[in-house]
């Protein structure tokens, strides 16, 4: 490679996570309910997906998660707010400005991003870049979705709702974890898509595996490893995008991780796939398991397609900030009320009136 060039994104000064917040709705749709309606009740993978209530949407969940993150970070001013989502309540009108108003922030660069399930990690990277460049002191990155699957489609088993928000700032003694660097990999690969004006997305079937999910995650992670000189055993834990229970396990093993390293982050059976919140939610769970000095790997995947792989080192600040009388993500997973299919369709506006 040419002198001075790099395919891994690092910032001259350390940028760290100052706080985070997760919001998972209370309601769950068991996959057996989808199967009962559409597949004659045949066996379904043991998944319960989180479903937003009728008065919730990506904006309300983003605000809830953001408020928790800002509270943990104990910051008063934000320089930028990015919301990554593919289920914006308004096709034109940013969710990020509503989040900004709810946080009483006006002097912010605010925008919404779309890149399917990786829009959350993108938001994170852009905030890191702004802080690293000295353009802002701290910023907020949110990944949120009220993901939709076409009724009866395979995706309906897993397409779920949740939000995860991170406040980042220049590293200081209270920082929870520092983002060492990130590597992104994209290609024009249309494995899953939604045309403008269409209610539900479409996807190819087996193609979503190798050429899409696996190729992009493996490419991004390998590039990150090469640049940093890392191997899997350097990491305490890893979390990969989890569209279903199997893929993240398969890609982890292929990359040389052990099951023990990824086990704590496996959430799909309890929450489904909340799209842009997926990897950021996984990261939050890892932070709650980790100890100072642990190295964590997060790698997202967004259809269309691309992956962001991030290397994150846990700092001493984690001890004070995480789990101190706060509800852990695992507790949010537990506070669940099962829905029947009819109520779920009412909540998620799937009944045409």
């Amino acid at each position: 490679m040419a002198e001075g060039s790099t395919t891994v994104m690092k910032t001259p000064k350390d940028v760290a996570i100052a706080g985070y917040g997760v919001y998972i709705p209370r309601y769950r749709l068991p996959s057996l309910e989808v199967s009962r309606i559409w597949r004659g009740g045949e066996e379904a993978p043991p998944i319960k997906k989180a479903v937003a209530a009728i008065d919730e949407d990506s904006t309300t969940m983003a605000v809830e998660a953001a408020r928790k993150a800002v509270k943990m970070a104990e910051v008063k001013e934000l320089g930028a707010i990015f919301v990554g989502t593919e289920t914006k309540p308004y096709a034109v009108k940013p969710t990020s400005t509503i989040v900004a108003q709810a946080l009483a922030q006006h002097k912010v660069l605010a925008s919404d991003l779309e890149f399917a399930c990786k829009a959350g990690t993108e938001a994170l990277q852009l905030i890191i870049a702004l802080i690293g460049a000295g353009m802002i002191e701290c910023g907020l990155a949110i990944g949120v979705d009220t993901a939709q699957g076409r009724p009866g489609d395979d995706l309906e088993f897993t397409a779920a709702s949740a939000a995860a928000a991170y406040v980042l700032s220049k590293r200081d003694h209270r920082s929870i974890a520092v983002v060492e660097g990130a590597s992104s990999y994209v290609s024009d690969t249309t494995d899953f898509w939604r045309r403008s004006g269409q209610r539900y997305p479409r996807h190819l079937s087996r193609f979503t595996g190798e050429p899409a999910y696996f190729h992009h995650i493996q490419s991004a992670v390998k590039n990150l490893f090469e640049e940093f000189g890392y191997k899997p055993s350097d990491f305490k834990y890893a979390v990969f995008h989890q569209p279903n229970p199997r893929f993240p396990v398969e890609v982890a093993l292929r990359l040389g991780f052990s099951f023990e390293q990824i086990k704590p982050g496996l959430l799909n059976p309890y929450v489904g796939n909340p799209y842009a919140a997926n990897s950021l939610l996984g990261l939050a769970v890892l932070l709650e398991e980790a100890a100072p000095n642990d190295l964590l790997l997060v790698c997202s995947f967004g259809s269309g397609a691309g992956s962001d792989a991030l290397s994150i080192r846990v700092l001493d600040g984690i001890v004070d900030k995480v789990g101190k009388g706060r509800n852990k993500v695992k507790d949010l997973l537990k506070a669940a009320v099962d829905l029947d299919y009819a109520t779920y369709t009412k909540f998620r506006g799937k009944i045409l009136i």
Binding site: R26, D55, D57, T60, V63, R67
Partner: protein
Amino acid sequence: MAISYWRRRDRYYRLLGNKCSSCGSEYYPPVYVCRRCGSESLVDAEMPNTGQIITYTVLREVMAGFEGQQPLVLGIIGLDNGVKILGQIVDTPPEALRIGSRVKMVFRKIREEGEAGQIYYGYKFTTL
């Protein structure tokens, strides 16, 4: 309604009431003149976002604009600073409602102007 909502969105999003600089009384909704001491010296103040249920009801006949939202659970909540506020109570089965239950404020959709109009957000409460 878009403009009258916009005008008050900080009030709705942040439980932003006001406080009398003279005697310290707090108000939500905000007042123009302090009811306790008559002072007009009032400053914006966020209310605490936790409290308890003082009374409640499950409304089975909603007004126009709230179609599809019935039954609607409403309560008068005593916030931790003594201010009483009216709000919907969500994610709680009606049979679990109790006078005295602790609640916290959440950010939710209040209503939408149909499929093409604006979305109105605001505060509601859930039981802890």
